[in-house]
């Protein structure tokens, strides 16, 4: 679990930017709730497996130990074959979080590499990478995951992580590319280019630090996707069924008819854990959104006077337009993407000709 602290430092890096004391209090409520909830699960994942009361795989042969409801000896009851549910849950939370975070790290790294490369190379390569990104964004991931992983004779953790990461990068790559394009044309980048900085230094020292909140959002999103997909895959049996993750717990509970036999203590805890981890990540993401978009943040601090909601003074618009003409083949390829609609070139055209209908 060496990866988990990196997550929190990323977040603090975002919030510390104002460099004022009490950044925790300035954080949006959503983000606070998300950090607290996610932190709780990370702690459980670190400490949990060390304090499991039983071996999660130990099958108690005594028929009396089968399907016990929660008691002092088994706080969350036992399974059909007498295994302790609490022990499985504690180990399962670690395995599931580990997998999600690993996939998140690998896929986000891929997204940064593809996004920044596309924006920096420009021209033909940019269009080719963007096309690839858009194509993989539109192809549904889960059926492809099922088909690919179905071919692996042993569906261990490594193939699952690699395939999940291999399909999880396009969303991040798309946003990061757009942001890099916007930042690339700023003065401070031009200045460092003039002073003869190397390209890789400009990328990693000047540009990537400015995208931390975007990269964090992309990371959180990918972890969310990875956990959801891996649990779903395990549930239908496309996973290493000898390991204890939240997904395989659900698989065994379902295949042994836990719910039909009334063994809610076996079935509900892993599902609830997945849902709560998911909620924590969604909350974190909304929090990051609010940090990045002042209007969303102020929405929560709007005040009500005489029955009407009044927004606080309008913040400076932070929309960064991408003033970029695309010549030749690149422009041709770009015009196939949906985002070509947002081209400022076109916006300008429309702005110059105010619509007649508006004044009628």
């Amino acid at each position: 679990m060496t990866v988990a602290p990196a997550m929190t430092t990323e977040l603090t890096a975002v919030t510390q930017e104002p460099a004022q004391p009490g950044w925790w209090r300035r954080m949006p409520t959503n983000a606070k709730a998300g950090v607290a909830l996610f932190g709780f699960f990370v702690l459980t994942a670190i400490i949990g497996p060390l304090v499991t009361p039983y071996d999660p795989g130990y099958q108690n042969p005594s028929p009396k130990a089968s399907m016990n409801s929660p008691s002092a000896a088994h706080l969350l009851g036992t399974t059909q074959s007498g295994q302790d549910v609490l022990s499985q849950l504690l180990v399962g939370i670690r395995l599931t979080l580990e997998l999600g975070i690993l996939v998140g790290v690998v896929a986000t790294a891929l997204a940064v590499i593809v996004g920044v490369t596309a924006a920096f190379l420009g021209g033909f390569w940019d269009e080719l990478l963007s096309l690839l990104t858009n194509v993989f964004l539109v192809i549904p991931a889960l059926p492809l995951l099922i088909v690919v992983l179905g071919y692996f004779p042993n569906k261990g953790e490594l193939p699952t992580i690699l395939v999940l990461a291999g399909l999880g990068w396009p969303w991040g790559a798309r946003v990061i590319r757009a942001q890099t394009l916007a930042i690339r044309n700023r003065d401070f980048v031009a200045a460092s280019q003039e002073t003869g900085e190397r390209t890789w230094r400009i990328i990693f020292v000047e540009i990537v630090p400015n995208e931390v909140s975007l990269i964090a959002a992309s990371f959180v999103n990918t972890v969310l996707y990875a956990i959801g997909a891996s649990v779903a895959l395990a549930f239908i049996g496309v996973a290493d069924l000898n390991s204890w993750s939240l997904g395989t717990m659900l698989y065994w509970a379902q295949s042994q008819q836990a719910l039909q036999l009334g063994a809610w203590w076996w079935f509900v805890p892993p599902g609830l854990a997945v849902a709560l981890i998911g909620t924590a990540l969604v909350l974190l993401n909304t929090g990051i959104d609010e940090i990045g978009n002042p209007r969303l943040r102020d929405a929560t601090s709007a005040s009500r006077i005489a029955g009407r909601w009044l927004k606080p003074a309008d913040p400076t618009p932070v929309l960064s337009e991408i003033w970029q003409r695309r010549p030749g083949l690149a422009g041709f390829l770009h015009s196939f993407s949906r985002s070509s609609l947002l081209d400022t070139e076109l916006n300008k055209e429309l702005l110059d000709k105010p619509e007649a209908g508006e004044r009628r």
């Binding site: 539109v138 192809i139 889960l142 549930f235 599902g271 196939f336 949906r338």
Partner: protein
Amino acid sequence: MPFIVRRLIFYVVAAWVALTVNFFIPRLVPGNAVEAIMSKFPDLQPSAYRALEALLGVGKGGSIWHQYWAYLVDVSHLDLGTSVSEYPAQVSTLLGQTLPWTIILVGTATVIAFLIGTVLGIAAGWRYGGGLDRLLPGLMFLQAIPYFFFALILLEVFAETFHVFPIGQGYGQGLIPGWHWAFIGSAIDHSLLPALTIVLTSIAGWMLQMRNVMITTVGEDYVIAAQAKGLPNHRVVFTYAARNAILPQLQGFGLALGFVVSGALIMEYVFSYPGIGALLVSAVTSNDYPLAQGIFLVITFAVLLANLIVDLVIVFVDPRARARGATR
């Protein structure tokens, strides 16, 4: 070239990538997994084996480009090979039986969820900080619950315990599918709970996104100007703010569709619904690779088609998409 033609070409490229990925998956898997799998089905006829060669690359069958070409020709004739678990049924026949169920159920439920979520998002974004915002954490929790888990809980509570809805399956036992009321009524009855699952779990996503874009749009000068002109509220909300805020929402709809459909696939398995998702799960658990790959292709094509429809809607809603076609 009109916007829509360009998009059409993009989808053709995407479809080609999906076809190519599908072709190379069995060939790139380490070891000889494919042959090992094929040996599990000893009762396959030599003729079926030949058809599988083209799809999976089993045996010799000429150079890889030769195989690739044969595969493309087969797919263009809607020949996706033979199912090995339900031998000798054709994959395309099995798909034809299950696809309508999924399209009607998942399609309708997704559109309903999108519409309700968007309307709620408009309301929440317009009156931000109001009552609807307080629902958000609860909705986020609903959204974070895995589809299949939620489906199982609903099934247990509403079907097994309270008998409000029938337990799983697509229609009542003993009914013969056809265009008569007994069957249609039963089919609708059986689809209510699965549809409810999709709507409840996906509504929060649409609502949250719409709310966020709406809040940003409401702060724009033209909305304030419209209010200053003294236009009635409903006009400002719908024709000024919501109409502009809905564009990113529509663009997101196309992309999120893949996720919704994926979730719905596993939900079908929980309900033993006679759709394509349950078929995919059974194909994978019985190592029926030709069938699984055929299903992947069909799902991908369906999602691409839905995206194309979204693009048509965008052209209808967004004057910029029309202007582009006219000016170039």
